[in-house]
């Protein structure tokens, strides 16, 4: 479980996150949603420790993460996996080397064991016969899958995904969403997904947190989101013509 308490973050005097408190539960796909520039990525990066919050606390179970030193954070980070918006695969390494990298760095497994684990992870994300390819030779969807394979190679306890569907076609986006949901349940991970894709919200949003202009405006499930009375959330959810039409039909 990850708990955020009274989190503030500002850049050059401009408040980007204002007193955010939220709990992300294990075994569930937790979504942070909001418009572009609302502070979603800043919140996610603050949680994983890439940004230092001005005030507030970030707890990983019973450990106060944002007060730890580098070595202390390192221990928690070894239990984290992250899927970045642009996949962030290492350009100079092949797919196999990318997925093997955390194993090389943090385990004492033999090369055979590591190769088995790499192949297992790649198979799990439905990617085969690409071990020797470089990231530049992969499509956007394949890169995301390889990045997920790398993220799960050490059996993480926490999975973070920053805009996993950006730049993907709707079908591939649904595949990636489902993969994240399946893996979350399979490994009982605490998963936090940052998105503004309404398909993801409806498909996998077991817990949803809506951020608007740095404030937490609403939280609930994908069942509740369509019936919310939060104006900003409704403006966001029913932004496109199709959604408005569906809402009209429902009424």
């Amino acid at each position: 479980m990850i708990t955020v308490k009274n989190l503030d973050k500002s850049f050059d005097g401009r408040l980007v996150l204002d007193n955010i408190s939220v709990t992300f539960e294990p075994g569930k796909t937790n979504l942070i949603i909001g418009r572009s520039g609302s502070g979603k990525t800043v919140l996610l990066k603050s949680i994983v420790g890439l940004l230092e919050p001005d005030n507030g606390e970030i707890w990983f179970e019973d450990v106060l993460f944002n007060r730890l030193d580098f070595e202390g954070k390192k221990k928690i980070r070894e239990q984290m996996g992250m899927l970045f918006q642009g996949s962030a695969l290492f350009d100079s390494m092949t797919v196999e080397q990318n997925v093997r990298f955390p194993l090389d760095m943090f385990t004492n497994k033999t090369m055979e064991e590591k190769t088995d684990r790499v192949n297992f992870c790649l198979k799990r994300v439905n990617i085969i016969n690409v071990n020797k390819l470089f990231p530049s030779e992969l499509s956007g969807g394949m890169k995301k899958r390889v990045a997920i394979a790398r993220a799960i190679s050490l059996n993480p306890k926490y999975l973070f995904c920053d805009e996993p569907n950006s730049g993907l076609d709707p079908l591939t986006a649904i595949l990636i969403d489902n993969l994240i949901k399946e893996l979350t349940e399979e490994y009982s991970m605490t998963t936090i997904v940052n998105t503004h894709d309404m398909n993801s919200v409806i498909e996998i949003g077991e817990k949803i947190v809506f951020i608007h202009e740095g404030l937490k405006c609403w939280e609930g499930t994908n069942k509740e989101i369509l019936n919310s009375d939060c104006k900003n959330l409704n403006d966001f959810v029913f932004a496109n013509a199709l959604a408005k039409q569906l809402k009209g039909m429902e009424k």
């Binding site: 420790g49 580098f70 980070r77 984290m80 970045f84 350009d91 760095m105």
Partner: protein
């Protein structure tokens, strides 16, 4: 502006502190260092050899044309070529060339990793990104740049000999006598010491420019240019300081 300078100096030393902290897994760093030895060191042999050859040739010809006086014995052309190359050209000029080649390479490589979130990915995994990316490069250049300097000295003097004898400004016998005359072995040590300092400056300053880049491809390009300019200027400043310290 002054505030920015102090901030950058502070960040530079903070980065170095991270770079020289205990490696997560020494065997991985060893492999990276071997890779960097080839990438930053071995791949620079060609350019250093070509430039040194022509540098030696020009030094010999210019010394010859400037000492066209019967008072001066011709073997002094060989001596002048040898000392100019050992004392200054092989260490300093090679460092400036390497600042252009290796420095821009390091800054753009690390800068691209920064803007494409590859450095963030390393940090999330619990890897000390500064150490993993920069330490092998520093070790590789510290190990290989002195070899480049020695290659530069040998090729430079060879270039001088070829140019001098081909142009007919000095006989082969006089040139060889000149390069052996009043030879001070400490000059080689001096040149190597300077090379070690320059190697560290080029690698660490360029890595710093790349590591803290913010933005996109335009900023990576700027960081690469800054890496070359700053490391060249610092190399020249240290050249003066080291010369005073080591030769006075």
């Amino acid at each position: 502006m002054l505030l920015n300078l102090f901030r950058d100096i502070g960040r530079y030393f903070l980065m170095l502190q991270k770079v020289f902290s205990k490696p997560e897994k020494p065997v991985i760093y060893y492999k990276q260092t071997m890779h960097e030895l080839v990438y930053l060191g071995l791949n620079s042999v060609g350019i250093i050899a070509i430039i040194s050859f022509f540098m030696g040739a020009v030094i010999t010809l210019q010394t010859a044309y400037n000492t066209e006086n019967p008072i001066y014995p011709t073997y002094l052309i060989g001596l002048g070529c040898r000392d100019s190359i050992i004392l200054e050209f092989s260490s300093t000029i090679s460092a400036l060339i390497l600042a252009g080649k290796v420095g821009s390479n390091i800054a753009s490589e690390i800068g691209t990793m920064r803007v494409t979130e590859q450095i963030d990915a390393l940090e999330i995994m619990g890897v000390n990104s500064a150490s993993y990316l920069v330490l092998p490069k520093i070790i590789a250049t510290l190990l290989f740049n002195p070899i480049l300097t020695l290659i530069s000295i040998i090729v430079g003097i060879f270039g001088g000999w070829i140019a001098g004898t081909t142009a007919g400004v000095i006989t082969s016998q006089d040139f060889i006598y000149g390069i052996q005359y009043a030879f001070i072995p400490y000059y080689i040590t001096y040149s190597i010491i300077k090379t070690l300092f320059f190697a560290f400056i080029i690698t660490s300053v360029s890595a710093f420019q790349g590591y803290y880049v913010e933005g996109g491809s335009l900023e990576v390009g700027r960081a690469s240019t800054k890496a070359v300019v700053y490391s060249s200027v610092i190399v020249l400043m240290f050249n003066v300081i080291l010369t005073q310290l080591l030769l006075s």
